[in-house]
Each structure stands twice: as C-alpha cells, then as structure tokens.
C-alpha cells in the first residue's frame, strides 16, 4: 500500500536487476544518471535567486510602516570663542602677500639660511662660486582667475630682512619673527630686487631678479639670505597674492648662475631655516611664513569668526541631552549660525567655511583653547561638508554635522568631545573674514542646533 512506504523497503533483487544481470553496469549507470539528474534538478531549483522586494501594494497592505521623525531646534551651544593666529606662523599652506592701503598690509618672508658655495661647471666639475652672472627668485603663485586679476600692473619688491649686518637696529635673533622688527628691514638700502608685472603676466610663476653682487656677498661670506617680499599695488587698489610654500612642496627658489658657460648648471636653493638653533621642530616651519604689518582685525564677544588676518578659528562647545544623543538615531544635525557682514576687505571674494572635529581631549588634559584648536580635523573629515560664503554676506548658515554628532552616541564627552571647530579652507592665504553671531548676541541671532531623529521603537513585532 502506498501509505506503508513499502517502496522504501529493500528488495532482494529487482526484476530489472535480474533481467539485466550481464548488462548490469548499464542498468546501474542509468540509475545513477537518473538519480544525478534528479539531484541536479533539485539543486538547480534551490539555487533560484530570491527576489523578495515588494512594496507596490503599500500602504494598503502595509500601513504605518515608516518610522516617525522628530525634529527640534535647541540652544545647545554653551561656549564659543575665536582664537586668532591659527594656523601658527610657518604652517600656512600659502603665504599671503597683501596690500590694501591702510586696511591691510602683509609681507612674506623666505629664509635661505644655507647657501652653497660651489657650482657644477661645464666639465661636470665643482668650482667655487667666485662671481654670479645672475641671481633670481623663482616665485610660484596661485594663478589668479580673471575675476581676481589686478586692473593695472603691480610691483613686487624683495628685501634683505636678515638680522645681520650691523645696521639691523634693535633686531636680535630671538625676535627674528616679530612683525614690528622685521618691518624695519623693508628700507631702500636693503632692497635686493624688484619687478613690475602686468596683469596678464601673472601666471603660475613669477621671476624676480636680484642684485648679483648682494647675493654673491652672502654666498662668499657664508651668510644667510633672508628675503622679505613686499607687494606694491596701484594707489586706491588693493590686491593680494598667494605664494607657494615648503608645506605645499612649491616653495620660492633662489636660482643662481655662476658662470657664463652655458654648460654650467644653475644653482638652485630651496628655503631652509636654521633658527631657533638646535630646535629643528620649531625651525623647520619658519623656512617661509607671513607677517602682518597693518590691519589685524580685533574681535568682539558678540561675534565668532573664521579666516581674516591673522587667520582665525572658532570653537563651539555643546551640551546635548543624553536622551537624544544616546537613545535615538539622529538623521540630521544642523549647526545654525547667523552670519553678519564683514566689510573690511575682500568682501565679495567667496571662501569656504567648514566645521571639523576637535581631536584632542579637553578638560583636565588640555585646558588651553588655542592648543585644542591646533588639533582639529581637515576639510571633509567625518563627512563634514563646507559652505561657500563671502565676507560681505549675511543670513542664517546651516552646517550639517550629523556624521560627527553620531560619533558622540554612547560615549562620554571625555572620549568624544562635544565640540566643533570652524575653519576656512584658505586660512592664512586670503584676507577675507567671515563673522557669525556668538552666544553673547541677541537671542534670535545666537548659534543653535537643529536635530532630526528617530526615537527608539520596539520595531519588528507585527
């Protein structure tokens, strides 16, 4: 009977087996093939790719499916401040050479503290430099676009700003980065060379010839050559340039030709600083840097700022309710800042402002805000995007920081500081400064944080 599964009992010998005793191999092969075919069919069907996605019949057959979002805007910033002079001197990616009349004046300093005293002659032999045919500074710049070219020619002058020789006045080695001291070296008897550039000639590289005798004196005497650049813009027109640095591997280079022999190779010298002595960690960045002679802007406690001269960074510290940070899933976190116009300089030149994480632990470990703001992330880190704005603009700006706020979940402030730093992508390179109202401003203008989150739900149960 079928219900007894009798067909599963072993048979003594099947009729099929008896009749095919001699061609038994063929019978077994057929049975094996049939079984293999059956198994292959089974596994072929089993390997059918699942296609599970559906949803056309929603919401009829799947009501109330979407998790509800909650949205709130809170005064979560408990502390904010702006620190001037960041990045520190020597850490600029480009040197800002600016001339905006009484509003702003900066200079660029490049140090060649070691000058070679030999050159490779025509026969590939080294010879002592006894004379110089030409000496030139090769200055890489950020090529200005058509909107940022000067209207008329500009002049760049190069001065010897070394503290030696004796007519250096009150300058001593410990003050060799002080702007007020260095400013005294930009005088006619220290002029090394200059060149005037027509607007269309401002390409990727500028070449400024130097007085060969002045340079030769430094070479032969084993002295340092420290060059200070000054930009002279036409009256009534402000202008600024960005000069390459050792940080970007596009530094100013001194090029000397010591022989009229065309086979002689030019001597190329890259910037190097030897002071402070025996402190290479501090000396290295001082190979090239900017100083501000005029126009340092002062802040007020009603404002926080980024960019400007000297460059600024701002710090905002949050106090967020744990019931939101730790117990929900945040899908949007917008830092709302109200920009107020800064009309000092370059008011229409857009710059990119970006939020970034503070990577150092504040509190007992580091209490100095300046130090905290030196340990911050770079543009785009943690998925934090920048916003483009001009110093002269105004209005509410929304910085999306959800990817950073999410990292605070389940951690203490000691592990993940509830802090955000604001920076510009061109800090120290361009003069524009963007101002926002701080927590000291009127209530409607203060920084705020908007959060959109999904509360915890007991999902999964039908």
């Amino acid at each position: 009977m079928i219900l007894s599964t009798a067909e599963l009992r072993p048979k003594a010998q099947s009729a099929e087996g008896r009749s095919n005793k001699h061609p038994g191999e063929n019978v077994l092969r057929k049975k094996f093939l049939m079984l293999a075919l059956g198994l292959a069919s089974v596994f072929s069907i089993a390997a059918c790719t699942e296609k599970l996605e559906s949803g056309t019949a929603c919401p009829l057959l799947c009501p109330q499916q979407a998790a509800e979002l909650k949205d709130t805007t809170i005064d979560a910033i408990v502390y904010d401040t702006t620190i001037s002079g960041l990045p520190p001197i020597g850490a600029e990616r480009y040197l800002m050479l600016a001339s905006h009349g009484d509003t702003l004046e900066t200079r660029a300093i490049v140090r060649f503290d070691t000058l070679p005293q030999t050159f490779t002659g025509g026969a590939s032999t080294d010879s002592i430099i006894a004379k110089l045919d030409t000496a030139m500074l090769v200055v890489p710049i950020v090529k200005p676009d058509s909107a940022h070219r000067p209207k008329t020619a500009i002049t760049i002058e190069a001065y010897n700003v070394d503290s030696i020789p004796a007519d250096s006045g009150a300058s001593t080695l410990p003050t060799d980065t002080v702007a007020s001291v260095l400013a005294t070296f930009f005088r006619p008897n220290r002029l090394l060379g200059s060149k005037t550039f027509a607007p269309e000639s401002l390409l990727d590289t500028l070449r400024i010839p130097l007085q060969p005798d002045s340079v030769l004196d430094r070479v032969v005497g084993g002295k340092r050559l420290r060059v200070g650049f000054r930009l002279i813009a036409p009256a009534g027109q402000g202008y600024d340039l960005r000069i390459g640095t050792t940080s970007t591997s596009t530094p100013v280079t001194l090029r000397m030709i010591a022989s009229k022999d065309t086979a002689a190779k030019p001597v190329l010298v890259t910037p190097l600083s030897s002071t402070p002595k025996d402190q290479s960690f501090l000396a290295g960045p001082l190979a090239d840097y900017s100083i501000v002679l005029k126009g340092s802007s002062a802040g007020t406690n009603q404002l926080i700022a980024v960019g400007g001269v000297p460059s600024r960074r701002s710090l905002l510290r949050f106090n967020l309710p744990s019931r939101i940070v730790d117990s929900t899933t945040i899908v949007r976190a917008s830092l709302l800042l109200t920009q107020t116009p800064n009309r000092r300089v370059a008011i229409k030149d857009s710059i990119f402002v970006f939020p970034t994480a503070v990577l150092a632990q504040s509190g007992t470990a580091i209490t100095d805000v300046r130090t905290l703001l030196e340990f911050v992330g770079f543009a785009g880190q943690f998925g934090l995007d920048s916003l483009k704005m001009a110093p002269g603009d105004s209005g509410v700006r929304s910085f999306e920081i959800v990817s950073l706020v999410r990292t605070w979940r389940g951690t203490t402030a000691a592990v993940s500081p509830r802090e955000v730093a604001l920076r510009t992508t061109t800090e120290g390179q361009t003069p524009g400064q963007v101002d926002f109202f701080s927590i000291e401003a009127a209530p409607g203008l203060r920084p705020r944080l908007r959060l959109t989150y999904v509360p915890q739900t007991s999902f999964g149960l039908p």
Binding site: M1, I2, L3, T5, A6, E7, L8, R9, P10, K11, S14, A15, E16, G17, K31, L35, G38, L39, S41, V42, I45, A46, C48, T49, E50, K51, L52, E53, S54, G55, T56, A57, C58, L60, L61, C62, P63, Q65, A66, A67, E68, L69, D71, V331, R332, S334, S398, E400, V402, S403, R406, T452, V454, P455, T457, S458, F459, G460, L461, P462
Partner: protein, 378 residues
Amino acid sequence: MMSRNLLAAAAAVVALSSPAFAQANLSTQGYGFPTGQFSTRTWGTGGSLAELDPLSPINPASVALHPTRLVNFQIEPEFRTVSSANGTERTTTARYPNVFGALPIGGNMVVAFGASTLLDRTSTTVFNTTQFLNAKDSVPMSTRYRIDGAMADVRLALGYNAKSWLRLGVGAHAITGHNLVAITQSFNDSSFTSFEQSLVLGFSGAAASAGVQLVGKSFSAGLSARAGGDLKVSVEDTTLARAKVPTRFGASLAYTGIANSAIAIRTSKDNWSSLGDLGTNGLKGVDSWDSSIGADIAGPKMGSRILFLRGGFRTRTLPFQANGHDVTENSVTGGFGTTFANGRVLTDFATIYARRSADNVPANEHAWTLSIGIAVRP
C-alpha cells in the same frame, strides 16, 4: 500642570505605540505564511493525506509507518504575484520547509526527529513616504524593511505499531527560530543621513502532540492533535511578548480500496488567535479551518518502478488578517513521485497554484509553488 499632564500622556502614547508591521502581500502578514508542514507527497494531494503520510510531520502516529531508517529533505520555491491598484509585482521566495530523519528502535517503535516551518516571514518591503517635520519642513524618505526567518517546529516523535490496524504516536515540540528584522531609511536630501536598525527576534516555546491511525481493508483514518504550550518572543535576553503555541486538531479519511492508491479528504482547525498576544495591539490571529481533498494514484510503470500521480484541492483561511480582513486561500495541486536506486531513494514533485484574497481589500495574490522532496534510506 494640565499641559504637563497632557504632554506626559502624549509621550506615553508615543512610547507605547509601535508601527504595525505588515508586508506588501496577503500571505505573509503578521508572523508570516504557514507552509503547512506537508511533505511533497502530501502537497500533491492538496494536503488530504497529511494525517496519514509518514513524511509529513503532522500526525506522530504516522512515524510508525517507516520500515527502515530514513532521511527526508524538501525545498519549495514560491513564485508570487501581488496585484493592487498601484500595479503588479512579482517575488520569488526560497523555502526549505521540512527536514527530518526516522529510525526504527525495535519493539515496533520508530523515532523521528526533524524540523519544519510553522510560519515563514521572509519578505522585503520597499516604499516611499514624505515625513512632515513641522508646518513648513518635510522630507521625502525611502523605507526598506527586510525580514528573514521563520518560526520553526522542531519535533521529536515516537510512533508505535500497536496492532496491524492501529498505530499510535506522541510528539514533543520545541518552537524555535528567529526573525532578522532590518529597517533602512534613506533620504534624497543630502542634509539627512540614512540609518539602519536591525534586531533578531527569537522564538521559544513548547507543545505536545498525539495521534492515532486506524487501518482497515478499504479505508484508513488518521487523527492528531497538538496542544500548545507557552511561547515567547525575545531580543537577546529581553522578552518582548508572550503567547501560546496554536493548538491544532486534524483528521484525514482515505479510501484505499484501489491498489497502491488513495483518495482522501482532510480537515484541520488551527487556533492561530493564540498568537495575538505575541505582537502589537494591532496583531490579530484568526482561528481557521484548513480543508482539502485529493488522490494519490498508482500511474504508469517506468521499468519496474511505479510512477505515482497526485492531485488535489485545498481551501483555508490564513492565520493573519490583511488590512483588518481575513485572507482566504484556495489552491489546486498536482504532483508525481517514484523511487530510484532499488527503492532507496524516494523522489516527489508537486506543483501548487494558490489564489489568495480578502473581502473588501482591493488586492489579490496568486502564487506558484514547486515542491521537491527527497527521502533517502542510507
């Protein structure tokens, strides 16, 4: 004070209420689709042989029919089409609903151990909505729910051949399994970040069953019942809800007066409403009847082996409502089976065409299911 009380009450409502989860089809509502725990052979007959078939883990008394040790395995892909006012879509679900082994232990007794799917919840639903954050702000959102897993019935059964006309059986059931639930919500607005939440719901419960088979000259009958014990659903160590395993009783009557053939009818009642406490307030299980009629007829011979041909019809109410209405399923089945390797391998194929609908729900569903079963005597 009053506004604070109102706020507290509103918060409580928000905290207690959870979205009622359903899938975009009629058959996997609630905790999922009941595959029926049928063997492929029984599927071919529409389910009418369920209380009599030793390859179906329904009646523990049928275990006694196994004359020798045996391993059984089954696969059942389902090709489903759902039609609604918004359009038609097709899905494919792979299922492995039944696996067990049996072993005679002497004294006219056979023990069997295996697992079968009680409720399969595997599905993925994707849809778009607009979230209103406040009076002025809204955001389009895409939601994707993926649920993988099933509630399984692991049974240890003992069958006893008491007489040539009487078989008895008992079974102990552990209700196990899990649902992996993953929700992904994404946004076109770049100021929003997508997120995913997932958890694993685990099931644990127990039940017991007993059954009897009566074998006559021209008729055979099988009756069985399952008594449900406690059932709970939990996430890791936290119990979310408790309920009872559904009780079930069923009966099959087969005419076996034709050699190597059977014409059978069956009915069964499942107490799915006992699962109502296992979900949110919106979950409603439906006590349902499952009735079928079918035949398993000896067909042509292929050499020395017989090719068995099967057909049947089944009607039942699915365990969970859709949009507040009972879902009815009617299916037509067909199949065949034979042996290989000198009777050591039994292979069965079945095709099930099912139509599902619910009153006052403007959607319908039909599905083709292929069932392939292989039983091997090692």
